[in-house]
Each structure stands twice: as structure tokens, then as C-alpha cells.
């Protein structure tokens, strides 16, 4: 089968603007987009730059826009595209560093802003925690997140307001709020009670649509909103009482 790859190229140090370059590619095997990109780099242009690591959809390196669809290059099979023309672009909402490699820093900064780490109270309990599986199951889908950034780059709110921290960070916060081991006080997370945080979401649900791990991060945003309202009511009553 012959394919025509149209790949976005850009080196901000040398090029005035991004451009598409065409590569012919032929294969009779069942190849992923990632494998095809590696073949093209090896045989046609060693300078073609893109990220990759695990090739099994768990490390989160290779998010791209493939024929207009956000996905990981490693888990997208060429034959599944149903066309011989393959258009490859880097993730939007992030600056291009070179070709298909984007600067993930804004995504990481957004993540760090929610203090994305377990904050237990005190020392670890002797003999470990006692947590029923049904309680742990509540955070199951959120801990499947691989932080690939697809939801961040597909989010229409992020594209118009760079202050918005996006779905992955909010879903991560929800994962900790719901974790019975985490004892962070309201003061440590109420800062997401803003338009740049939980209230920024337009409920367009692009994040749910593009997530390669079926995390449904928008459920996490919804959860944080409920938690914010709940915390406010609780505090109101406390003050009155």
C-alpha cells in the first residue's frame, strides 16, 4: 500500500513559518503512524523530529493530530485511517519547538499548580492503610491518565485563554480530593475556584473525546465543581454554627 504523508515542519530557529512537506511511504505491513514516521526519518530525512518511547500507549510521548484527529501515533494504525493521504500536525495550544515536538511546559505548569501529589496527614499508618476497593475504584479511571496532554491541546478554552489549567490538571486534583489518604485542606485547593480553574470549562467535552485512556477528565472537572460547592456550603454552616 502506498501512502502520502503530509507532515508539518518547522524549526523556529531557521524557518519563518511552518510548512507542510510531502513524503511518499510504502508498506505491506500493519504499521502504526509512529512506525511509519520512524521509517520516514530513517530512510528519507534524519532531521524529522518527533517524540516517542513505549510504543504501547502508556508513556504519553507521541500525541499528534493525525488527519485532524487527536491521538497517540503509536496506537493509530495506518490502515485504520481509510485513506492514503496522511496529514500529521503537532499538538495545538502549545509552541512548536521543532517539527512535531511541542513545548509541554505550560501543560506541566498547569499540572503543578494543583499540587499534584498525595498529601497524607502525618506518618504512614503501621501496617498500611485500610481502604475498601469500591472506594479506590472511584479514582480508578483518573489514575489511568498518562499525562499525554491531548486533552489540553484539544481544549477550546485553553486555546482562547492560556490561564485556564485544563482538564488533565483538574482531573488530577479530583483524583487526590477523592483519595481517602489525602488530607489536603480546602485552603490548599480552593484556588481552582476561578475561571482559570474549575469554572473555566465550557463543557464542550473535547477532552473526553480525545482521551486515549478513556479517563473522561471532564467528569473530574465536574467532580471538582461539586466539591467546591459542597465545601462552600459546609464552611457557611460552620461559620453560622
Amino acid at each position: 500500500m502506498r501512502y502520502s504523508f503530509r507532515i508539518l515542519r518547522f524549526d523556529p530557529l531557521e524557518d519563518k513559518r511552518p510548512y507542510f512537506q510531502e513524503f511518499a511511504y510504502e508498506t505491506n505491513e500493519k504499521k502504526s503512524i509512529l512506525e511509519a514516521l520512524m521509517d520516514i526519518r530513517n530512510d528519507q530525512d534524519c532531521a524529522l523530529s518527533f517524540r516517542y518511547s513505549c510504543r504501547e500507549a502508556v508513556c504519553g510521548s507521541c500525541g499528534l493530530v493525525i488527519n485532524g484527529k487527536f491521538d497517540l501515533a503509536c496506537r493509530t494504525m495506518l490502515e485504520s485511517l481509510g485513506t492514503a493521504l496522511v496529514v500529521i500536525e503537532p499538538l495545538p495550544n502549545l509552541e512548536i519547538q521543532k517539527d512535531l515536538i511541542v513545548d509541554m511546559e505550560p501543560f506541566w505548569r498547569a499540572l503543578y499548580s494543583v499540587e499534584p501529589y498525595l498529601q497524607p496527614a502525618g506518618e504512614r499508618p503501621e501496617g498500611g492503610y485500610r481502604i475498601e476497593d469500591r472506594v479506590m475504584e472511584r479514582i480508578d479511571k483518573y489514575v489511568s491518565c498518562i499525562l499525554c496532554g491531548l486533552c489540553y491541546s484539544a481544549c477550546p478554552v485553553v486555546s482562547r485563554d492560556e490561564r485556564y489549567i485544563g482538564a488533565a490538571a483538574l482531573a488530577k486534583l479530583y483524583r487526590f480530593i477523592k483519595d481517602p489518604r489525602d488530607k489536603r485542606g480546602y485552603k490548599r485547593w480552593f484556588r481552582v475556584n476561578t475561571e482559570a480553574g474549575a469554572w473555566g470549562c465550557d463543557t464542550v467535552f473535547k477532552c473526553n473525546e480525545v482521551c486515549p485512556r478513556y479517563v473522561r477528565p471532564a467528569d473530574g472537572i465536574e467532580g471538582v465543581r461539586r466539591a467546591l460547592v459542597g465545601a462552600k456550603i459546609t464552611r457557611l454552616f460552620k461559620r453560622r454554627g
Binding site: C46, S49, L118, V143
Partner: protein, 565 residues
């Protein structure tokens, strides 16, 4: 010049565990060729062993039984005191991980769940569904963020710089700029992982070239037991993505083309849950006899587990099968074949992670303590990274208190960086010769055909000769076109030189060891020989050539016995 008290190379489980154990008063940096969350640890699926005794069928379990299973699984090549140390520390390590945020699956009563794994007398593998590596790596990374650990990501270490037996620092290829940077360090911990990509079939990530192990070797540090290469029994055909041992731990069957559970012929009492070396050889034997499919694979059948159990315990496995092989394990058996998976051997370290080069430490898969001996048990690799990563971090913190950087170090490092730069310039300047990916492919073919599951003197000798020819070709390598920034082509060329060294050491160790033990199966010496070979292979570079030494295995209380399952 960048300068740190401690530089950890590698941001996987061993590297991050070490980072969290470094004295916070010291200046620490973690250098990683990818963002830490993209490290191969993330792909670990099935679990991590500790004798917690939480499983109703495992109440009698204790760390000594875990140690015995580990030692027997190692075909008695593990140093027994080291295996005991790891297993004794395992329960506390799991509870520490839990306190750091790892969301383990639970049993009724709220304790951490445990499942059966190969070669284990009791179900002692703790897990988070089939994404155990993912959740542990993320939890450790999150805690590193909390500790504000300094990361240099997408930076490939290219050389360990030492002089007169003294560590000085490193040179680093920074992908974002294409520059080679010198980094001064009083101590270095390598947590650089394995070398799966020297084989055609491997479960490892694309980044697992093993250059870290090669850099240690080039710096004069010995490599230990490198001939012991683990082939995982169940890698999906044809992409060779790992299908966790948990699939068999949860009750999966291995079937030949007549639907027969052939493990009955090889390990009648443990069947599919025999250790990996035995199961992998059994599968390959059946395929070679024509009892598989297309002479390539056999079936791993999970259908009888039912959709509910598969979704609860093995959700990622189901997803991998559907996405990458077009097979839904709820309705059809999975095509599987053995593929390279893990390196039992590695940089020779003691129980503190220290090498023979003062200030240079190693932990995780790139290191060999040795706890896995000739065959590692499933669930013991994550444990190794967590226990020995932490130990190395603590040991380095102690070491650095008594050490100082010296004048003259800067010049050494600048010279080393200039040398690395010149090497890269040479590749870029050449307009013809050998392309890196062709050389690498040739190397992989040699290793797969001649240094695989079954070995003979003749094949190993042929492999050695071919590897040495490839080394010559490497001297005439080139890249076509202009590429420096974010160039994986340059990265691959830098690493390739070290891969050639590694394959030579693996092959030489395998040629010398005239016995069969664990993963090392010699068709011309099919018996284990404790009289001559109850010892570790140590290969180091002397006067530019590999020199071999041996060291006796440390035995505490388990005399070698026949290994029956």
C-alpha cells in the same frame, strides 16, 4: 559549567526512588533522555512482590519464603544475602509506596490485594490492576515535584568522565539545543534501565538501548552476568508488546494448535506459572516443533476468566490486544511468542549500589547486585528498583558528605565535551558510509539468531565475529542531511557504540559459560554445573579489550538443589 553534588541519570522507578532518598541539603539533578514520565518503568503491568500475606491463600507467607523463591528462581546464581535483603525490605517498601500515593488494588477488609505470579510459592504480587508501573512511576514523579527535584529532561548522557579511578562528572547531549554540555558531579547514580532494543523482538520501549551500561563499561567498571537475558514468555504477536504475567496469574492458559495446555509436559505442578525461563523455552520449543501457529506463536487463552474479571484485573491488556493485534481476549485467544524483556546482568554493584569507581553508583535494571541471578521472577523487578534505588540514594548521600570536587576537574570535563562534539561533527561531515539504523538492524539480527533462547558455541563464536565487524563499520557511520536539534538519529548513533560493547559482553559471557543455568541455555552443555559455574561472570575493559573474571556466588543457607516446578 553545570555542577551538582549528585547527578542521577534516568527518571524511571530506580532513579526517582533514589532522588527521593537523597539528602535534601545536597544539590541534586536528575538527567533523563525523555521526560521522566515517559520512562520504560511506566510500562510495567503485573505487579510488585512483597510477603504481606494479604491473600487468603498466602497467610503463611513471609520474607524468607520470598527470598527462597527468588533464589530458586535465579537458578541459585543470586547472591543469597542480597536476595534476603531485598525480600526483607519488601513489605515496608510497599507500605512506603502506598503512603507516597500509589493506588494499589485492594482486598475485602481494605488491605492491598495480591495475586499469584510465576515461581512464587504464595500469591504475593501487589498490583494496581495491570498498570502497576504507571501508577508507581506517576506517584514517585509527583513526590519529586513536591520535593522540587531539578530535572534535565531530553538530555542524553553520552559519557561518564573519570580520571585515575576518580569520578569527575558527565557529558550530556541536550536534545533541545544539539549541544554537548559538561556536568560536574561529586557522585553519580546510573538508573538507565535495560537494553532490550539490541534484539529484534523485545517488549522494551524504543528508548531502551542500554547505553548507560555501556558507559560504565567504557569507564572501566565491570559488567556482571550479562549473558543472562530474560525472554518474556508472552509478548503479543507480532508487535511484541508485553502481555503481563498477571494474565496467567489470574488464570490464563497457554494452548498449542490442538488446544492443549502444553505446560503439563514442562512444569506439571505449576503449569503456566513456572518461572519465565522455563515457560519461554517451552513455548519456543512447541513453536519449533510445529505445534504453534504460522511457526510464530501459540495462544494465551483468557476467555474462561470472563469479561467482568478481564475488565477489572486486566483492562489495559484487553485494550492492547484490541488496538495492536485486533483480538479481543474476551472472545478470542491472544497470539503470543517469547521476546526479550529484561536484563538480569548489569553494572557490577554491591548491596549499597556502589561500583568499583568511587562516587559512581547504579540501581535498577542497569545494575546487577545480584538478586535475580540467572532468571528473574515476575514482580521482582519493580521491587529491585524501589529497594535498591532507595539504598543507592542513601548511600550516595553519605558518600558525598566526605567528598569534594577538585581543581582541574573543569578542564577534564570541557575536554571530554569537546571530544564528544568532535565525534558528532564527524558523523555529520561524512556524506557516505553506514547508516545507524542499518547497523542497528544487523546487530539485532545477529543477537536474535545467535544469542537468543538457545545457544551453542558455534553460534556464539559467529556472533562475536559479526559483532566485531559491526564495530568496524560503526567507525564509518554517517547521517544523511543536516540534523542536530532534537535529532534521534544522533542519539541513536551515540548509543549504538555502547550497544556494540554490550552485545560483545553478553556474547562473550555466554560463550565462556559452558553450562545451562536459568535463562542461559546451552544446547551443547544442557546441565547446570555447580562445581565449576556457581559464580558470577565479570567482564571489564582492560587495555581496550574485554577481560573476564569470576566471583563466587554468596550462599547463606540455601544449598543449590534441582530446580523442579
Amino acid at each position: 559549567m553545570l555542577s551538582h553534588d549528585v547527578v542521577i541519570v534516568g527518571g524511571g522507578l530506580a532513579g526517582l526512588m533514589a532522588a527521593l532518598a537523597i539528602d535534601p541539603k545536597l544539590s541534586l539533578a536528575v538527567v533523563s533522555r525523555v521526560h521522566p514520565l515517559r520512562s520504560h518503568s511506566v510500562a510495567a503491568q503485573g505487579g510488585i512482590n512483597a510477603a504481606l500475606g494479604n491473600n487468603p491463600n498466602g497467610r503463611e507467607d513471609n520474607w524468607e519464603k520470598h527470598a527462597y523463591d527468588t533464589i530458586k528462581g535465579s537458578d541459585f546464581l543470586a547472591d543469597q544475602d542480597a536476595a534476603e535483603l531485598m525480600c526483607r525490605r519488601a513489605p515496608a517498601a510497599i507500605l512506603e509506596l502506598e503512603h507516597l500515593g500509589v493506588p494499589f488494588s485492594r482486598f475485602p477488609g481494605g488491605v492491598i490485594a495480591q495475586r499469584p505470579f510465576g515461581g512464587a510459592g504464595f500469591p504475593r504480587t501487589c498490583y494496581a490492576a495491570d498498570r502497576t508501573g504507571l501508577v508507581i512511576l506517576h506517584a514517585l514523579f509527583e513526590q519529586s515535584v513536591r520535593r522540587q527535584v531539578k530535572f534535565y529532561s531530553e538530555a542524553l548522557v553520552t559519557k561518564l568522565v573519570a580520571e585515575n579511578g576518580r569520578l569527575v562528572g558527565l557529558t550530556v547531549f541536550d536534545l533541545a539545543t544539539g549541544e554537548v554540555l559538561p556536568v560536574r558531579a561529586r557522585a553519580v547514580i546510573f538508573a538507565t534501565g535495560g537494553y532490550g532494543r539490541v534484539y529484534l523482538r523485545t517488549t522494551n520501549a524504543y528508548i531502551n538501548h542500554g547505553s548507560g551500561i555501556g558507559m560504565a563499561y567504557r569507564a572501566g567498571v565491570a559488567l556482571k552476568d550479562m549473558e543472562f537475558v530474560q525472554f518474556h514468555p508472552t509478548a503479543i504477536y507480532p508487535k511484541n508488546i508485553l502481555i503481563s504475567e498477571a494474565a496467567r496469574g489470574e488464570g490464563g492458559y497457554l494452548l498449542d494448535n490442538r488446544g492443549r495446555r502444553f505446560m503439563a509436559d514442562y512444569a506439571p505442578s505449576t503449569m503456566e506459572l513456572a518461572p519465565r525461563d522455563i515457560v519461554a523455552r517451552a513455548i519456543q520449543t512447541e513453536i519449533d516443533k510445529g505445534n504453534g501457529f504460522e511457526r510464530e506463536y501459540v495462544h494465551l487463552d483468557l476467555r474462561h476468566l470472563g469479561e467482568k474479571k478481564i475488565n477489572k484485573r486486566l483492562p489495559s491488556i484487553r485494550e492492547i490486544c484490541i488496538k495492536f493485534a485486533g483480538v479481543d481476549p474476551v472472545y478470542a485467544p491472544i497470539p503470543i511468542q517469547p521476546a526479550q524483556h529484561y536484563s538480569m546482568g548489569g553494572i557490577d554493584v554491591d548491596q549499597h549500589g556502589a561500583t568499583s569507581l568511587p562516587g559512581f553508583y547504579a540501581a535498577g535494571e542497569c545494575a546487577c547486585v545480584s538478586v535475580h541471578g540467572a532468571n528473574r521472577l515476575g514482580g521482582n523487578s519493580l521491587l529491585d528498583t524501589v529497594v535498591f534505588g532507595k539504598i543507592a540514594g542513601e548511600a550516595v548521600s553519605d558518600y558525598v558528605q566526605g567528598s569534594r570536587a577538585r581543581d582541574g576537574d573543569e578542564k577534564l570535563l570541557l575536554d571530554a565535551a569537546a571530544g564528544e562534539k568532535a565525534k558528532i561533527a564527524g558523523w555529520l561531515a561524512r556524506s557516505q558510509g553506514f547508516r545507524a539504523h542499518h547497523l542497528l538492524n544487523n546487530l539485532k539480527i545477529i543477537m536474535s539468531e545467535k544469542v537468543g533462547l538457545f545457544r551453542t558455541r558455534r553460534q556464539l563464536e559467529e556472533a562475536l565475529e559479526a559483532i566485531r565487524e559491526i564495530r568496524e563499520d560503526y567507525g564509518r557511520a554517517f547521517v544523511s542531511g543536516r540534523c542536530l536539534r532534537y535529532s534521534q538519529a544522533i542519539v541513536n548513533l551515540i548509543e549504538f557504540g555502547y550497544m556494540v560493547d554490550l552485545t560483545e559482553v553478553i556474547t562473550l559471557g555466554a560463550l565462556q559459560r559452558e553450562e545451562t543455568r536459568g535463562s542461559h541455555y546451552r544446547l551443547d552443555f544442557t546441565k547446570r554445573n555447580d562445581q565449576h559455574w556457581l559464580k558470577h561472570t565479570l567482564l571489564s575493559l582492560r587495555d581496550g579489550r574485554p577481560a573476564v573474571d569470576y566471583r563466587d556466588v554468596r550462599v547463606t543457607k540455601y544449598q543449590p538443589e534441582a530446580r523442579k516446578y
